[in-house]
Amino acid sequence: MRRYVVPLIVCLALFGCAQFTLVEAKRQEIGNAYSVAAQRTWNRLKEGNVELWTADGPGLESLRFYAGLKDGERLFEPRPGSNDEETLPKYRSGMTVTEVMEFVVDSLTRSGASQVKGHELRPSAFGAADGFRFELSFASATGLRYEGTAIGAVVENRLHLIIYSGTELYYFPKYREDVERIFASIQLA
């Protein structure tokens, strides 16, 4: 019996707390702010103000959806016992798009990623809104390289943002086309 204890604990740790639900291949509402059309199935996890979708696991690739981030809100939850409360960047209404990219880059850095770079900031439609796109590259604490791409828009002082990231080798390119179709399908509520 004892030999099953450790695997059982691991299973509980992996699946017991994280409540993933199925995202069906159809149009999905994101926080009553906008919707996107999923062309394939994903696994959904809701954490605080972010809705996360992943196909193979969040450490390999993920889509993070933020719907209408308000003044003072963050991309990541402060970790207990850390100084995140003071140092994790907050969204400020009135930020320019250049500052929004900086906000994303600094948030990733403060959450533990290293060598975070945002680049190729450019205008892009976010559904019917005048939005922006930029690319990301960073490494995990253990040195694993990731790439990312983000799309967003500020609508009535609230930030809509979708960040797709995955390991540079294999997983980021694997779902890139699916993600581009999701970006192209955005409809504001």
Partner: protein, 384 residues
């Protein structure tokens, strides 16, 4: 085996091996490697694994000129041990250096940004080399093992200083035993490091200057208790005084500080390292650091630009006006990065000064025609 399991197994191994290894501990000899059956070999094994993790972490700066320079200072200070020390430049904001018993020397980029000359760097490196030569980690390990629950040593070493973003790096440094050096060992490292620095001809007064600068930064910090360097190097006031006393005792011959050789290899990195420091968002500390760097008199354009960035990000009362002034001053030096014009444009735009914003954005695109965000800036210009 999982990391916790490995640490526990190694701890048991070290305990068992340690029973046969009591008595006085001599300084490590150049080229010496501990015999496999000893507790010291066990310590080295832990450090070797930590070194592998560091290499894979993506935080090692691979700049042959910079690494070669730091290694050169190490070898000048301690020629006999030159071949035993492996230098790693670690990309991490904050002032820190650590020495592992297997000869791994970590020098953080936050340290290389702050030291103002080779004499200051030599003091820190000399101090760290003493920990290696005097086998401080092994001594500490045996003392702890003999006096208390030996797991404390590893728990302490593995705990890191809080759970900040640098925790993995802090743990690597901590594995070197640095978190657990005693005050006596730190005092010895100061005294012998100081002696080796002045014997090599470096200005002894620079040691206290560096220490006082770090104290000033700490006092201005919003979160002084999370200071990695001070959490591993206790007795700050006492050390400043003892360094002043040591400097007063040296003979009157002429010493050198050697600023230019250091700047030749560090200046190309300052932009990125300043950005790393700013991302910590500890604005009080950042401002004191800028004051010291500016006082030293190099690259005022870049430093003024980062002063502007600090005010813009802090966003407190008057910060917009201060940021604007700093960007203007930076640009007036003729040596500000092109981003100073972009930052100026964004501030003007926010203030409704559209004509000034337009001029600044246009200058940015002239200064950096291949700017990655060119399409966005052109979009801003169409909106103005």
């Amino acid at each position: 085996m999982r990391p916790a399991g490995r640490a526990l197994a190694l701890c048991v191994l070290l305990l068992a091996a340690g029973c046969a290894a009591q008595g006085d501990i001599q300084d490590i000899a150049p080229g010496e490697v501990p015999p496999l059956e000893t507790d010291e070999a066990g310590l080295w094994m832990v450090m070797d694994r930590a070194e592998q993790r560091l290499r894979a972490s993506g935080r090692v700066v691979e700049d042959p000129a910079l690494k070669g320079y730091v290694r050169g200072v190490v070898c000048d200070l301690s020629p006999d041990y030159c071949d035993d020390i492996r230098v790693y430049i670690v990309r991490a904001a904050e002032f820190n250096a650590s020495m592992a018993p297997n000869g791994t020397l970590h020098v953080w980029t936050g340290l290389l940004l702050r030291v103002q000359n080779e004499a200051q760097l030599a003091f820190v490196l000399g101090h760290e080399l003493v920990h290696y030569q005097r086998r401080h980690t092994l001594k500490r390990w045996r003392t702890v093992r003999n006096t208390t629950d030996s797991l404390v040593f590893f728990n302490f070493a593995l705990a890191g200083a809080g759970v900040g973003i640098l925790a993995p790096l802090v743990q690597l440094a901590a594995l070197g035993g640095v978190l657990s050096y005693s005050r006596d060992q730190e005092r010895e490292a100061d005294e012998l490091g100081f002696a080796s620095m002045s014997a090599a001809g470096y200005e002894p007064k620079e040691a206290q200057k560096l220490w006082d600068m770090l104290l000033a930064e700490r006092e201005a910090s919003a979160d002084p208790d999370r200071d990695i360097f001070f959490s591993t190097h206790p007795g700050e006031k006492e050390r400043s005084e003892s360094l002043a006393k040591l400097a007063a005792e040296v003979d009157g011959r002429s010493y050198q500080v050697r600023r230019e050789p250091l700047l030749a290899v560090t200046l190309p990195h300052h932009d990125g390292w300043l950005h790393d420091e700013l991302q910590r968002r500890d604005y009080g500390r950042f401002e004191v650091m800028l004051d010291y760097l500016q006082e030293a008199g190099e690259e005022t354009g870049l430093l003024l630009f980062y002063r502007g960035e600090m005010h813009r990000l802090r966003g407190a009362e008057d910060d917009d006006a201060k940021a604007l002034q700093a960007y203007r001053d930076a640009i007036a030096t003729g040596k500000a990065p092109p981003e100073a014009q972009r930052a100026l444009g964004l501030l003007y735009w926010r203030q409704g000064r559209n004509d000034d914003a337009r001029t600044a954005f246009e200058k940015y695109l002239v200064l950096d025609p291949a700017a990655e965000d060119r399409a966005m800036i052109e979009h801003y210009l169409r909106q103005l």
